[in-house]
Structure formats: C-alpha cells, structure tokens
Symmetry: C2
Subunit: 466 residues, 2 copies
C-alpha cells in the first residue's frame, strides 16, 4: 500500500510536468477529471459512509426489518448530500430467516462442526437429518454419480476455491453452492453440505444464495468452514463411514417490498442520457456487509457527490443506483432493468462496484468495436490513478450484467480481489477489513469514469459480440 501511495504521488506530480511539455492546452475534461481524482484521494466520504452504514444499520438482509432501515438510511444520506434528485423504486423480495444451523459428526469421531445455512435453504426436521456422507471433488463429479447413488445419504462437495487477483476461483466453485442441492436431490440425497466457497482458513462458513427446482425435492443445504471440510476429509481417510447429523431451522415467509434507492446529478445538456454507477445496498445477515457491498455504496455515492459539487454539471445525467436484494439473485438489478426498459436506449453506459475495497488496477469496457479505441483514449486520465486500460469484454458487475443483452454498454472497473473471498459472505465481513486508502482510489476511478463518460462524444453502440 505504501508503495502504491508513493507511485500515485509521483504520477500525480508527473502529470502536470509532462503536460507542460505539450504544445496543446489540456482539454477541460482532462483537467476536471484530474481535479476529481485529487479531491477523491483527499476525501474520507466513502469510508464515512461505509462506517455509518455498517455501524448504524449493520447487517441488512433483503426482506428483513433491517433492509428497510438501510433504505431509509440511503434516502437520508443521499438527500443530505444534496443530489439533484433522490427517489426509490419498489422491488419484490423473498423473505428468508436463517434460524440456527448445527452439524455434528456422529461417527466415527463425534464432535461439532461449524456450518451455516445457504441462503434460501429449507429446514431439516426438528430432530435433524442423520446420515452418512458421500464426498465429491466437484459438482461435476456429483452430477456424474449413478442415479440413486445418494439415496439416504448427505452429499458433500469438497471443491476448493483458488485465490486469484481477479477472483476467478469463485466462478469455478460457486455452482456447487447455487446448484448443488438440485443435483444432489436428483440423485436421492437427503441434504447437502459443501466446502465454503472461500479462500480463507478461518473457522467460519460462507453463506450465499442457492436455488431449488420445481420438479426436484427441496433438501437442506449448508456450507462447512474450510477447516471443518478438512476435518471431514481426515475422518474419511481413516473410516469411509462418516455419519453426520444436521439440524437447521431456516424459514421462508413469502415476500416483502424493498427498494432500489436512486440519486441523480442532472445532466447539463443531455439530461435524459444516463451514466449509471451502482452498488447494492443489501447484505448477508452474518457480517455487517462492509466489503459486500458497503464499500460499493460508499464508492459510487462519494463519486457521484464529487460530480454533484462541480461548478459545472457534466452533459449527461449521473445516476447512482443502490440496488436491493442483489444477494438473493440480482433481484434489484432485474427490477431496475424491467422498470427502466423504455429508458435503456438512453443509458449511455453502466458499471457496478461490488467486489470489496481492493485497488482498481484496470478498466474493461463492453462497447462497439469501433468505439473501443476511442473510449480508451478518453479514459487515459485514469492511468494516473493506477488504472490500466483493459479489454472490450466487460460484464459490468452483477446488477448491470443483464443490460448488455438489451444493448446497454457497460464497464468493469477491476479491483484487486486477492483477499475478497477470505471474508465474503461470512461474519468476518466487517469495517476493519476496509482499507480507507484503497477506497479513496476507487472513488477517484469511479468519479473520473462517470465524468468522462458523461462528457464523451463517442457513440458506444452497437455492442461488440463477445
């Protein structure tokens, strides 16, 4: 971090020096973008917002009482910050309550294990489910098991998530979490436990959404902490008959109304054209949602506020969207796309911050092939903030990932996610994991991105096919 700060400082000193050597005067867009960067790096607003949200609201599972307190918090903050417009849009969300989750090895070596229910899981009977486990390396291996191979058993998917800067290890294992229960139940399993989709060695299980399928029995689904998954392996090495007892009491309670909370800086000359920067307001219930996605809320709100406070508004409207219920299946993102269907043609570009508080090292776009080079050219001021120019294959972030299908250009501001999956969806997702300095660098990147896009004269459509 220290080295990064030094590099950044040197870069910011060099930029004016180098530009003096140019004969062309610097464009106003570049000047303002540089000014936004400097302001962002000097401001604690994003961190203050994350602190306020995590302390004063805390965990805010979509559909819970706390979710509505978070919505009120967001409306109040955005209003106090003086955005041109602040409003909210209703989103229908399922209500699910975690209850308790306990696991015990009954044989051969009785002892407790640390588990957590996967989001949306059904409960076990009150007396629990007691059955031998059958271990699989991966979801694919489970799917390849013969029909009925799991009858009367508890499936155990033991896929280890690899650590990568990009977070790409998550994509390889998360299917076991989201689709494992359906796969296991279709082979006759009574329940499923998975090694947590995480990169840590802490004795905390990682929750996260899972899905059922109408024609397949709904079985309880839980994640084991990494040391507890290790423990099962060490038992299986000694005795293939490892019997587990699971007692889980989560409950679903129908649906509730949550809200996407939205703030705008009204564009000066093209107010109906939108540059969307988003994050999600909901969190899982066990941590305080500092990294996921308090950080994103702080970053895009602080970036929008810097632009709101410019003496001259940018051409296009900047829309800050704090999405509802991302964790339960991008519900706020889908609701936004539906509610704003007729306006999507006017969405110039969209990006979501939902990967913690690590430094942004690269920006990827998804625009037309023709526009790509020009977009990189106008994004160049971001390099002084440590952001490299990337590819034309962005997905834009979870809640905007459905927009490219409808022709909307997106950008992905890539964060260093090496430790993101150490904390993701655990009780450990707390404020102390947020680095205030890298948060500032994120705000600088989002402010520059949003401003430059709002001023851009490039036609970004139609999107390149991936």
């Amino acid at each position: 971090m220290q080295n990064y700060r030094r590099t950044l400082l040197m870069a910011s000193l060099l930029v004016p020096l180098l530009s003096c050597q140019h004969t062309q005067p610097k464009s106003e867009n570049i000047q303002i973008s540089e000014q936004l960067q400097q302001q962002a790096l000097a401001s604690s607003l994003a961190y203050d917002l994350v602190e306020s949200l995590t302390v004063e609201v805390g965990p805010r599972l979509a559909g819970s009482e706390k979710d509505l307190i978070a919505v009120q918090w967001a409306e109040d903050k955005l209003t106090t910050l003086g955005f041109d417009k602040v409003y909210k849009e209703p989103v229908k969300v399922p209500v699910w309550d975690r209850g308790d989750a306990k696991a015990m090895v009954v044989a051969p070596y009785p002892q407790g294990l640390v588990i957590t229910a996967l989001g949306g899981s059904v409960a076990t009977p009150i007396d629990g489910i007691t059955a031998p486990i059958v271990r699989f390396d991966t979801l694919a291996a489970l799917k390849a098991a013969p029909e009925g191979a799991l009858t009367g058993k508890i499936a155990f998917i033991d896929h280890k998530t690899e650590r990568h800067t990009t977070g790409k290890g998550y994509g390889k294992t998360v299917g076991g979490r989201s689709r494992g229960a359906v796969a296991a139940a279709s082979k006759g399993a009574l329940a499923i436990v998975i090694r947590s989709i995480g990169t840590d060695h802490d004795r905390m299980a990682h929750t996260g959404a899972m899905r059922y399928q109408d024609d397949v029995p709904r079985i309880p689904a839980a994640a084991l902490s990494s040391p507890d998954a290790d423990q099962l392996n060490l038992m299986l090495k000694r005795d293939e008959n490892v019997v587990l007892q699971l007692k889980m009491s989560p409950q679903s309670h129908g649906y509730a109304t949550s809200y996407n909370v939205i703030a705008e800086v009204t564009g000066a000359t093209k107010p109906d054209e939108i540059v969307l920067i988003g994050a999600h307001l909901d969190s899982w219930d066990e941590g305080t949602g500092a990294l996921d996605d308090g950080a994103g809320v702080g970053i895009v709100t602080a970036a929008g506020k810097l632009i709101q406070d410019l003496p001259q508004k940018p051409a296009r409207t900047i829309r800050v969207v704090l999405y509802a219920a991302e964790e339960l299946g991008l519900i706020g993102g889908k609701a936004y796309a539906k509610a704003h269907k007729d306006e999507l043609a006017k969405h110039y570009i969209a990006a979501e911050s939902d990967f913690g508080a690590g430094l942004i090292y690269q920006i990827d776009y998804r625009v037309s092939e023709q526009a790509f080079k020009d977009v990189l050219a106008i994004s160049k001021p971001m390099t002084a903030n440590g952001v490299a120019m990337g590819t034309n294959t962005a997905s834009g972030g979870p809640d905007v990932s459905m927009l490219p299908k409808q022709g909307v250009p997106v950008a992905s501001l890539r964060q260093d996610g090496r430790d993101y999956f150490d904390y993701h969806h655990t009780p450990n997702d707390t404020l102390d994991k947020v680095n205030p300095e890298s948060l500032q660098q994120n705000v600088a990147a989002y402010a520059q991105f949003a401003y430059l896009m709002a001023q851009s004269e490039i036609d970004l459509r139609p999107l390149a096919t991936k």
Copy 2:
C-alpha cells in the same frame, strides 16, 4: 519458512565440515544430539500425533466426556510408541459447560454481536441482562472507578492486545479476563464484557479462564470479538448510551476426575533423576486444540520417542508429562507438583511446550548462577537448529512454573509467537494452523535439550534469585 529451511540445511552441512577442522574428536553427547536433530527434522511423528488427537478426539475440555477420551488416546499412543513406562495420575477438575452466549445491541443501533462465555462464568437469568455499557481502557482504569460507578451497568474493558514475537502483549491484557469480573462486580456491575485477549481481526471471540472471589457477587463474563469491540466503540462515539442485552447459559456441575498421563524413558545410570518435558492434553472446547496444546503434546511425545529409540539410553530418566486441565488454572501442573513433592529434589530440570507450533529461536534457563555458563556450553549443539543461547530467567511454561519455588531448575524453549494469539482459545485453533516443518524443528530442540540434560554432569542448584 523457506529461508529458515535453507539456513538450517546450510547449518547442518557446515557442522560436520567445521568439526572436521577440529583436532579434538567430537564428544559422544554432541554426536548423539546432532543425530537426534537430523532424525527429528526427517520425522512426521509430531504432526501425525497432532492430527490424530485433533481429528480422532477433537475438542477436549477438562472435565468433559471428551477429556477422558483424550486420556485414553494418550495412554494408547504412548503405549504403542513403546515407552519404558506409561501411567496416569488422577487430578480433580471442575466441570463446566459452555451453553450458549448471545449478545445484542438494544440501543442505539440494534444488532447482534459475537461473544463467547469466559471459562467458569455463571449464566445470566433466562431473560438475559439488559443494561447500558461503561467502557474502560484497561482493568486498571476500571479499578480506579469510584465505588458504585457501575451499579446497574455492564462493564466493558477494551484493552487491545499487542502483537509480539514473545507473546508479551498477552500478559498485559489477560488480567482483564481473569480478574475483570471481580473488579467490575465490586463496583456494582451486573455483568462484564471484554475485548478478546487476541491479536487478530477475526469475528471470533477468545475464551479463557476467569476467577470469582468468595466475598464478591458472581457476575456473567464474556469476551467480544475484536471487530465487535470496535463496533461498540463506534457506537459510543455516536451515542454514549449503548444498551446491551446478554443471554448466557453456561453451567457448573461440581467436579470430575481427569488424569496427568505420563511416559518415561528409564535412565541407564541415574534412573531416579528426572528430566521432565511436558505439554497439556486438555484444550478449550471451541477449536480442536491443535496449537493449544496439541502441538506441545506432539512435540514432547515425539522428542521422548526419539530418545526411547536410541541404542543407548541416557543417564537420567526422561519423563514426558501430558498435563490435565491446564486451561482451568494449571490444575494438572499443581497436582503433579503435589503428588511428586518428595521426588522434586530428584527433578534435574523441567520444561513445558505450550505456545503453539512456531519455531524455537532461543532457550532460556533457570539454574544456579554458577551453572548457567556451563549449561549454555553443553547446549551449544542446539544452535545448529536455529536456537540461540538465552538468559537465566526462564519460568519453564505454565504447568512447571510452580517448580522453581521448590528448587527445581527449569528451561523455556522460546517459540515465535507472533501469530499465536490470533488463534488462541478460539474455534480457529485447528490443524491447518500447525506448520509441519516448524513442528519438526521444535521436536529437534526438545529432543536435544532432553538428551543433553539427561547426560549433563553439571549441578544446576540452587536456583539463582531472579
């Protein structure tokens, strides 16, 4: 670790080279000591023992059913390993059951906190205790509060434990855990919560023993995880009236019998003189006691086994003592000192391994002033294993710490404890935290120490006054 291995390899290559340049033949003691080092660094026995204990027994709170399973495990292992003698000695231990512990902030920002009961704590009433908190920087600050200052309140000691190689931060804060409840109750408090005595930022609370005093009311006592203590501070910054609800159901159930489990390598020429190397068999109930003190059990057992297997037994007897109920107040250590009162004069020296699995960087002694230099001289072969020669101020480890008062010399084999208090007394004390290579270096050090002491011709008594 890589660097350490390289250094060690170079050292082991240099030792024979250098010794070739000597004109004096190497003494047999030095040769055997070097051979023990090499064997230890090539053996996985200590790790295999830690794995076996943590997987097949798991958590083993003194006085619990699991404690007796651990005693049986130890007897079986020591017998199978072929020690000359294996026996056990009864120890009376209190029985305490953790039950559940929940904490909620009731006002100003309702949310759950992560706590754990301190060992020996009484329960709250079933409906819990709901009261405002009063924060203190330290136990000393609490003690300095006016009489009755805590009437109707919950005390909160917020002392942060500093990270040090020696672990000395623990000594500065642990009084808040062991004596906080008495101090708080004597000022009228209804309960006490402390910032965990730990150096991590994980959302896990650290348990550990606490004491009551007959003339002071017994109040419930719990530890908060470090992020939860931070959370209370951030709430207090906003509103001094922070109201907590504690619900805890631990229970005491009288006393049970546990055992010190003992193995011996019978000395060849002075069998009644004892070199004691110990560790404790019990653990807290939330982790699997891998670092505390599975590692110690593995280290001293494997060290003893290497000496057992020598073609020629050392002069003195090597006694491996696996103590009962260290965590509940050095109960096994005290029982041993009492049961062996008449034999203590024949204890040549004693040392306990109870500080995890970090590398040993130094050996300290507590012997006579006269003997100290000579003892360091005969300990020199340990330097090839990375162990520096230290001071004459050792305490010897918890379960032998009462022996110097009775004239018994002790040694402290100092381990790198920088991360020990990240995991200490938490669910996170699991096998994955044990580094197999540093465990081997520990075994080498204990084997060399025990052998050299068993062969020593130095009179170590009377002990130097500290």
